[in-house]
């Protein structure tokens, strides 16, 4: 069971990074909305991942993206911030005692929980990403606008992808 989870996560990582770098990197609506779908990988890591490992995975994922985007450090910081929001949100909203779900997927946790979880994580990730990318406060309104539209775009793609793999039997 455990090794199966690891293999699934590695395959998911490779596919999402390739889709992000080869397809979504070239996609943009009016230079305002750019999707960053690879965050889905960090959202779907198992509940049992230790915090240190979670941060290491987020760091490596971010730095891989940075190598392809030529923006060293920007995606790394954003992914680490996402990991922090993930840990906080799960510790507040999930009761560990009588709990047997493995991964925080849409089919395991329900639409309401998953959409709120994804929205918070994506919003913080994009906020850090766009502010660090612009790196100045003079264009703050434009940066925030880009952040908002991109967050909506990413959230919609993440939820659509989750519905593709929706498994009704598990609930």
């Amino acid at each position: 069971m455990n090794s199966r989870l690891i293999i699934i996560n590695i395959v998911r990582w490779v596919i999402l990074i390739l889709v992000q770098v080869l397809l979504l990197r070239n996609l943009s609506f009016y230079n305002l909305a750019t999707p960053f779908m690879y965050v889905l990988f960090l959202l779907l890591l198992p509940f049992s991942t230790p915090n240190l490992l979670l941060y290491l995975i987020a760091f490596v994922t971010g730095i891989t993206l940075d190598m392809f985007y030529d923006t060293l450090g920007v995606h790394t910081s954003a992914c680490v911030a996402l990991a922090f929001v993930r840990v906080s949100f799960i510790s507040v909203s999930v009761n560990r005692d009588n709990f047997d779900e493995v991964e925080p997927t849409l089919s395991n946790m329900g639409f309401k929980w998953f959409s709120l979880y994804a929205m918070l994580c994506i919003l913080v990730h994009h906020l850090v990403l766009f502010i660090l990318e612009a790196f100045r406060f003079s264009e703050l309104s434009y940066t925030l606008l880009r952040c908002l539209f991109s967050s909506i775009f990413t959230l919609v793609t993440v939820i659509l992808i989750s519905f593709i793999f929706y498994n009704r039997k598990q609930r």
């Binding site: 070239n26 941060y55 760091f59 190598m67 030529d70 450090g73 612009a134 434009y142």
Partner: protein, 278 residues
């Protein structure tokens, strides 16, 4: 001591966040100041290889367009050649040797990675220091328009700081009256088809549709067309004005570029270094 350890362990998520986030921020800031992290950008061997292989598909899709542009250029060059070889030999005239002191040489290169949607755009090309490319050289598009400057160089690849970058500035002037200005992109304009020319003195009359060319003061040869004026009153009320131009060069379909080698670049640099800076 034990209590401290328990405290840290209990809130480990927060402390780990602080540690990793600091590393991320430090990387970002370092990259913004020095812009010289060659190992972790797309001149890196592995990443460059991936882009180079995957670019094959895009190359095929744009083959028709590239063919057209090449044939246009071919026609232009053969017209020049015709003019040079079919000299009326009956006419007696002195021939000036222009080969030995030809100032600019052109080096063609293929783009293997390009972007137009980011805040600061970097282009990667498939020629590097082995082909004689050095940091700071000017890059133009084969048909018309400017592209940017060479930033980092590895043996077989190089990155170009595109015009679509907040730190890129070029010296340009108006073809009509030689009014000098500086070409910038960014600052509330993120459309890859437009750019601003700043610091033009107010006394010049500028009309929509006027051609803007390179001035020849920087790394670029003089007289390369850059764009046409599309809006003359972006910012006034000062001794200088800012105008908006529509770039001739389409960054979204760029496939090949010419890197310009200036024979006198070294000499200019040596002379510039002798000027005392305040």
């Amino acid at each position: 001591m034990r209590n401290l350890w328990i405290f840290i362990n209990r809130y480990n998520a927060f402390f780990l966040f602080i540690i990793f986030f600091t590393v991320g921020i430090v990387l970002t800031v370092k990259n913004n100041i020095y812009q010289r992290s060659i190992t972790l950008n797309s001149t890196n061997e592995i990443v460059g290889e991936v882009y180079q292989n995957l670019n094959v598909a895009t190359k095929y899709m744009n083959l028709g367009k590239v063919n057209d542009s090449l044939s246009i250029e071919n026609a232009r060059l053969s017209a020049q050649l015709f003019a040079l070889t079919h000299i009326d030999s009956a006419k007696n005239e002195t021939v000036k040797d222009t080969i030995s002191n030809y100032q600019y040489t052109y080096l063609p290169a293929r783009i293997i990675k390009n972007s137009i949607t980011l805040r600061n755009n970097i282009i990667t090309i498939n020629k590097g220091s082995a082909d004689g490319i050095q940091s700071g050289m000017a890059v133009i598009s084969p048909i018309k328009g400017v592209v940017g400057f060479i930033r980092d160089v590895s043996p077989h690849l190089a990155t170009i700081q595109s015009l679509l970058h907040k730190d890129t500035r070029m010296s340009v002037n108006l073809k009509k009256n030689n009014a000098l200005g500086s070409l910038v992109w960014g600052e509330k304009n993120f459309d890859f088809r437009k750019a601003f020319v700043k610091e033009i003195p107010n006394q010049f009359k500028i009309n929509i549709g006027d051609t803007v060319i390179t001035s020849g003061y920087g790394a670029f040869p003089p007289g390369i067309p850059v764009g046409r004026v599309s809006n003359t009153a972006v910012a006034t009320g000062d001794n200088f004005m800012t105008i908006e131009i529509r770039l001739l060069n389409d960054f979204s379909t760029l496939q090949y570029v010419y890197v310009i080698k200036n024979k006198f670049a070294e000499e200019v640099k040596i002379l510039d270094d002798k000027i005392p800076h305040e």
